[in-house]
């Protein structure tokens, strides 16, 4: 590990520090804009990175990655637009918290949790890279299937109110995931001859429609377009540092969940954010009402999705197998700079690995400082009267969604899901399960089918492999827990009929 310290002089020079700071700012901005996630940011800045020395270049790209992963939370909290799908879980509590006049705390908490989550991910990256990398290799299709099933089961926990409505919404998400090209035969499924559906509806278009557009419809409906909301004036404050101390267990747990999911290629930040949110909700203290502005909800989601960044770097650097789309482009950048990732890189160029690691850690700290300084600026958005805010949000949603793949069809998808989201909220159906189902549907189905193709004796493959068997056992236990608590809740409701909750 001491060889990695050779990276210190490579990073601590004005150019690398400036490039990293610039990357964080670019990442935050790109994360705030709906649709443009960290992946797009890295792709756009890749050509610039080539003209820099390796560590300055990689520092900038990694900074965009972490800044972009955290930036999505700002628009989720303030405008109910998750800038990226990974921030979707942040808005459950972030938006209600901002509406209650605690925008500054919400943004501050999100930034602090992101940074600390990222740093915890980084420490795991430093100490456990080889170990976790070996573990990740033992994850094959049966294990992925079990993990995806675990993710789908969290729908029941994340859902507000009726578990049945949550499952129905999750079913809609799973159905949406079936649209597109079948991975095993290349046949088109439910595309109705429309080429735009050949990879299914774009998840970001669906997210922006469901969450942001439906909120706009509600805002328009409630009127008061010229009212100037009476929001507390925001200023630079380090209060969030104090607040987060109350959530230290949640923070560490969520960051570790994020790192773990990041380290397993192909699962990613969005799933880890939902799962750690579900875990925090299950273990919440009395008095914490999730979905109505609980601090713990923001901490769980943000710590997990930034912990995931550190996690995703583990297989990328130590195995040469990228953890997600963004790290795949990061790996491409590293190759272009002349370094092939893999175990050999740790031996032959420890200074490069060390420099990347330091860039990642320092990037996280720069993000915290910038996030705290910029929070008041972001917070001013809430003081804008609706007559200005609604068209601006609509413009941002349309620009961001169109920019995904320059497709007008995506705008239609956004609009349709805006209407769907509006109707679902009217009927008190939760929206998050749609996204979880949509993201996990493909992972679930394709790994199930792949596992059966790999197996030499049918479904036994799921129980013959120890890790898979353990995950499936957890799945079954969780399912039993959900069923039992649902039955208990309905019995209680029968005995003690309260006010109608539909």
């Amino acid at each position: 590990m001491f060889e990695l310290l050779q990276g210190v002089p490579l990073f601590f020079n004005p150019l690398a520090l400036a490039a990293t700071t610039l990357g964080i700012i670019a990442g935050l901005v790109i994360g705030v804009l709906p649709g443009l996630g960290p992946l797009m940011g890295i792709v756009l800045m890749l050509p610039v990175a080539f003209h820099l020395p390796p560590i300055a270049g990689m520092g900038m790209l990694i900074a965009i990655y972490i800044g972009g992963s955290a930036g999505g939370s700002v628009s989720a909290i303030l405008l109910r637009i998750p800038g990226t799908p990974i921030a979707a879980a942040t808005l459950f509590d972030g938006f209600p918290m901002a509406q209650k006049g605690r925008a500054q705390d919400a943004v501050g908490l999100a930034m602090t949790a992101s940074t600390l989550g990222g740093l915890i991910g980084g420490i795991v990256l430093l100490f456990f890279s080889p170990l976790l990398a070996k573990f990740a290799l033992r994850f094959a299709p049966p294990e992925y299937f079990g993990m995806a099933l675990l993710g789908v089961l969290t729908i029941a926990i994340v859902s507000e109110g009726s578990a049945l409505k949550g499952l129905l919404a999750g079913g809609l998400g799973l159905a949406l995931a079936m649209i597109g090209t079948d991975e095993f035969t290349n046949a088109y499924r439910f595309t109705f001859g429309n080429f735009n559906l050949s990879s299914g509806p774009h998840v970001v278009a669906v997210v922006v429609g469901l969450f942001a557009l439906s909120e706009l419809f509600f805002q328009i409906e409630s009127g008061g377009f010229l009212d100037r909301p009476n929001v507390q004036r925001l200023r630079v404050s380090f209060r969030a540092f104090r607040l987060i101390v109350h959530h230290k267990v949640n923070l560490v747990r969520s960051a570790l969940i994020g790192t773990f999911f990041g380290a397993i290629p192909g699962t990613g930040g969005d799933v880890s954010a939902f799962i750690s949110y579900a875990a925090a909700k299950k273990m919440s203290r009395p008095g914490e009402v999730f979905g109505e502005g609980a601090e713990a909800g923001i901490v769980a989601s943000e710590a997990a999705n930034n912990g995931c960044c550190g996690g995703a770097m583990i297989p990328t650097l130590s195995l040469g197998i990228p953890g997600d789309g963004s790290t795949a482009v990061l790996m491409g950048g590293l190759i272009l700079l002349g370094f092939f990732p893999g175990p050999e890189l740790f031996r032959s160029h420890p200074e490069i690995v060390g420099g990347i690691f330091i860039a990642y850690m320092v990037g996280n700290i720069i993000m915290l400082l910038l996030g705290v300084v910029l929070a008041p600026l972001f917070g001013r958005v809430l003081r804008i009267p609706k007559a200005w805010l609604i068209p601006a949000v609509l413009l941002l949603s349309v620009l961001g969604t169109y920019a995904l793949q320059s497709s007008v069809f995506d705008l239609w998808v956004m609009l349709v899901f805006g209407a769907v989201g509006y109707l679902m909220r009217r009927a008190h159906y939760p929206l998050a399960p749609v996204i979880i189902g949509m993201i996990l549907g493909n992972v679930l189905e394709n790994n199930f089918r792949r596992a059966l193709l790999l197996s030499r004796d049918g479904p036994m493959i799921f129980v013959e492999r120890p890790i898979s068997a353990a995950i499936i056992a957890i799945d079954i236990l969780l399912l039993i827990m959900i069923v039992v608590s649902t039955i208990r809740a309905s019995r209680r409701a029968e005995r003690d009929p309260g006010p109608d909750q539909t």
Binding site: L39, V43, L44, L46, P47, V48, F50, A136, L137, R138, F139, A140, P141, G180, T181, E183, F184, T185, N186, Y188, F195, S198, S199, P265, G266, L319, G320, I321, P322, G325, A328, V329, M331, G332, G333, I335, L336, F340, P341, G342, P343, L377, F378, R380, V381, R383, I384, W388, P391, A392, L395, L399, Q405, S406, S407, N446, R450, L453, L454, R456
Partner: protein, 328 residues
């Protein structure tokens, strides 16, 4: 306030007229696969080409529908030279052949050919059941349908050459499709796959753990990109696919209606970029062989590929039948 300047800025960007000479803004190369080692090869050319043109050329990964989604997306952009098709053989020749796309290679205006990459059969370094190509085939023959292999996505070029090898050697193994070769390699190293087809980029990043048993091309340079590993013909196997046919390659293209002077500028920049020795060395180091065919050779080179691919498609059909009879 925050919203007003933003709206203004967005309006300004959208309303900017095209007054300057081409290129006056960044150019996009629409790349048909997920990000990974192969994308880096396109990025090397894009970067060098951008330097010639004085703007950035960014490589935008647009995976989906066996590569045709990228073509569809690029076809919807204006024919102004700001969008380049990263014309890989799968969306350009193969998918139209399979009836999955409406265009043919003649519907595009070629710039220069970019790179070619051959495929190879790899096994784990610590594999004990077989050590080389003959022993792998012997094992597969002795245990029909027992070995698991992945060619990445199904029915693509790597699958064709793999099926062709299996058909010629009369051996059967279970195909397990993965979305990309980059994903499948993890399961080869993890021990659930027994062998697989790889490209040079994925091989380079995994060469500490995998061993090439046969390069699936007759060309000598192809063997060089896999550290001098033996070619399949060295074992007396005739692939029946010559030249570019059994290989992945890409030819950068623009829409047919693109103005002539814009095409000329792009061709000139790409030609100069590819002629640079540092660009060629970088590509070779990554396992991608610069092809060096100019725009005038497009029809001559790409035309015959389609006929050769038919034999690969027949091999996949043979494999499907053989697998079914093994299962019975």
């Amino acid at each position: 306030m925050f919203a007003r300047p933003l709206i203004f800025a967005a309006g300004l960007v959208l309303a900017m007229p095209a007054w300057a000479e081409f290129p006056e803004r960044n150019i996009e190369n629409i790349y048909p696969w997920a990000p990974g080692a192969t994308m880096a090869a396109s990025q090397v050319i894009a970067d060098a080409m951008g330097k010639e043109l004085g703007v950035n050329v960014s490589v935008v990964s647009t995976p989906g529908a066996a590569g045709t989604k990228a073509f569809q997306v690029a076809l919807e952009k204006p024919a102004d030279g700001y969008t380049i098709f990263d014309g890989y053989v799968a969306p350009l020749v193969l998918q139209p052949l399979l009836g999955q796309a409406k265009w043919t290679y003649e519907n595009f205006t070629p710039l220069w050919s970019a790179t070619s990459n051959s495929f190879a059969i790899v096994i784990r370094k610590d594999e004990s059941r077989f050590k080389d190509f003959p022993s792998l085939i012997a094992y597969a023959k002795a245990h029909p349908g027992e070995l698991r292999y992945s060619p990445g996505a199904p029915n693509g070029l790597p699958h064709m050459v793999a099926a062709k090898v299996m058909q010629t050697s009369d051996a059967v193994a279970q195909v397990v499709p993965y979305p990309e070769i980059d994903v499948a390699i993890k399961d080869l190293r993890g021990g659930v796959l027994d062998f697989m087809i790889t490209n040079p980029g994925v091989y380079q990043t995994n060469k500490d753990d995998v061993k090439v048993v046969a390069v699936l091309s007759e060309l000598k340079r192809a063997s060089e990109t896999y550290g001098g590993a033996p070619r399949v013909q060295d074992y007396g196997i005739d692939l029946g696919m010559k030249g570019l046919a059994p290989m992945g390659w890409n030819w950068w293209l623009v829409r047919k209606e693109t103005p002539k002077e814009v095409v000329a500028k792009l061709r000139d920049a790409m030609g100069k970029a590819l002629a640079r020795t540092d660009v060629q060395e970088k590509l070779m180091a990554m396992g991608y062989v610069p092809l060096g065919y100019g725009p005038d050779e497009y029809a001559k080179i790409v035309g015959p590929v389609a006929a050769d691919l038919q034999s690969g498609m027949d091999a996949i059909a043979w494999e499907k039948k053989a697998l079914q009879s093994v299962k019975k």
